[in-house]
Amino acid sequence: MPRALVRARSLLGTVPFFAYVAIFLIIPTLVVVIGAFAGDEGGASLSNVRALKESFILAAFGRSILLSAVTAVIGAIFGALLAYALATARPGGMLRRAVTAAAGVLAQFGGVTLAFAFIATIGLSGFVTVFLRDQVGVDIYSGGVWLFETPGLILVYTYFQIPLMVIVFLPALDGIRPQWREAAESLGGTTWVYWTRVAGPLLAPAFLGSTLLLFANAFSAYATAAALVSQGNPIIPLQIRGALTSEVVLGQQNLGKAMALGMVVVVAVVMTLYALLQRRTARWLG
């Protein structure tokens, strides 16, 4: 069969997916992107895109990227540890099923309820804060109220980042064959060698991909931050919310879309870095 025909038949298999995505994802994205280049009185204009250079918007981007990167790394490490703990448990056992189900649920737990729960736990009059203050004598807020600033957001975000990592990374850990361990051992390798030379490189692509997902997840999350930090819009999703729904400063709809475009660009850049990193780690396998 001629190559072109084979390739055409292969592409045909992806048509349902691409058609669906075109309608429900690409078109909405394009509507937003085109809106970013629309002037406030109609017609094309670069003013909203240029407005992205404002210091408070750049600062919000910086804080968003920092928050997402830190919670992605923390979530990835602890999530991978927890996933490994589950992978070594009995495969059909109740422990693994229960923890995996719990992780699935907590990965999507967010918004007003999560913020409320955290304030009730570790807020200024939360039961953990009060316990630490009265029983242990430690005042966690002596250095300032950090719960409603970036450190607080980091803490609250890891609450759903870690379970997400567990769910997404566990299938990769399930793919580790005991034969690899035995083979490494029979060749005289220690645990360290096994992890750095055998399992590590094999898991690296999945680990990096999952970390990237965690980054994007934190980057666009906003319901939780909106409930926790209702003043000042420190991160980009909150800035966008302000631009789109403020009832005091009006007429900023297209600025909101321009900021969304900025977010897509940031993630595209991070994805490129991820692709480069993947290519390097793949070399370890070769």
């Binding site: 309608i23 078109i27 394009l30 509507v31 009730a120 005091v248």
Partner: protein
């Protein structure tokens, strides 16, 4: 050559798709009855009150938006309207801001879930008059001229004054705004929203400004006050909700007096206090959507809200209805509810559009820095 062809094809596809998406689907057929209601500018236009009621009952539903049940007693108003006329009221997005209401009207245009009526803050209303259908309710003459649009495009519905709500079992009763800087209130004072986004928070800062030597023209002392509040560690950047108030996470809240009064009905120790000589008031705006999916029901809702029954229900929620003066003269006002309104000392200040714009600019430039 192949990559060029591929990118060209992709771009062509992209532009075709977006062009297709940008045009709206064809309008659904609507029967002549609702057309009549859709352009009626008063009950007489619709063929009289009874005809309006009959048409509304035929429509059977009403879509309202951004009306939390504990906001000026809307919960009871919605229930009363539903029971009186047998119309199902669909209350969507109770947390929406005024701008969210306009966004929903634009995004859901032509669909049967689009909002029928709006309850908006002044700024958003003035900016979106093109979306409203003019309608003069039967009690139009009772409403003061300053509180309505002469063409009937919009009407003020209820108003209140900015107040400080506090949990008397957790903090001592403040006697002035400046009291809140004391150590008793450490980590306890919350503002209902960000003043660059929410009208209630904006008025809160305006009130703080007037209480600290500023005026309707100058909001800087208000921003300064909150800066000091933050520096003292008393300011809580959390969004106060009924849950945070009930659980004691936000023991002091700057909010409209009717909202604080409503919290008081749920939490016995929650008291409301309007600072003396720092009285900032604002009325909200009622309007009917031009593309309302249920035009007759929307107009009937309007008639209900401005009837004695509707106005008294708002009064019961602690808000001051626009027909209050006329109703007091006619003796139809709910005297107990009227007497139960929070005491106000001093002349109320209502910010004009110019003053609001000036304050907005100052806030946009300085608020985030002050409390960041």
């Amino acid at each position: 050559m192949r990559t060029f062809a591929r990118t060209a094809a992709a771009l062509l596809a992209a532009s075709t798709f977006t062009a297709m998406a940008a045009c709206s689907p064809p309008e659904k057929e609507s029967d002549s009855g609702s057309n009549k209601a859709a352009t009626a500018a008063s009950a007489a236009d619709a063929g009289g009150m009874d005809a309006l009621v009959a048409e509304a009952k035929k429509e059977g539903q009403l879509n309202v938006i951004a009306l939390p049940p504990d906001w000026a007693n809307y919960g009871e108003i919605i229930k009363a309207f539903g029971t009186k006329y047998g119309i199902k009221v669909n209350s969507a997005q109770p947390d929406a801001s005024s701008q969210d209401e306009i966004n929903a009207a634009n995004q859901l245009k032509g669909q049967d879930k689009a909002p029928d009526v709006f309850d908006l803050g002044g700024a958003v209303a003035t900016a979106n008059v093109a979306l409203f259908a003019p309608y003069k309710v039967s009690t139009w003459a009772d409403i003061p001229d300053t509180l309505k649009d002469p063409n009937g495009t919009w009407t003020n519905d209820y108003g209140g004054y900015m107040s400080i709500g506090y949990d008397s079992s957790k903090v001592p009763a403040p006697t002035s705004v400046a009291d809140l800087l004391k150590a008793d209130y450490k980590g306890k004072v919350a503002l209902n929203g960000d003043p660059t986004q929410a009208g209630a928070a904006f008025s809160g800062v305006a009130m703080a400004s007037i209480a600290n030597g500023g005026s309707a023209d100058d909001i800087a002392p208000g921003v300064e006050f909150f800066k000091k509040l933050k520096a003292a560690g008393n300011f809580l950047p959390v969004d106060p909700t009924p849950a945070t108030i009930a659980s004691g996470q936000t023991p002091v809240v700057f909010d409209w007096d009717y909202l604080n009064v409503a919290q008081g009905t749920k939490l016995a120790s929650w008291k409301t206090f309007v600072p003396a000589n720092a009285v900032v008031g604002s009325y909200y705006v009622q309007a009917i959507s031009k593309d309302a999916p249920h035009p007759a029901a929307a107009r009937l809702w309007q008639e209900f809200l401005y009837s004695d029954e509707g106005q008294n229900l708002w009064l019961k929620g602690g808000a001051r209805p626009v027909r209050a003066d006329a109703m007091e003269k006619a003796g139809t006002i709910d005297k107990t509810a009227f007497g139960a309104l929070p005491k106000v000392e001093g002349t109320p200040v209502f910010l004009t559009e110019e003053q609001t714009n000036k304050a907005k600019e100052y806030l946009s430039a300085n608020w985030a820095k002050a409390i960041g």
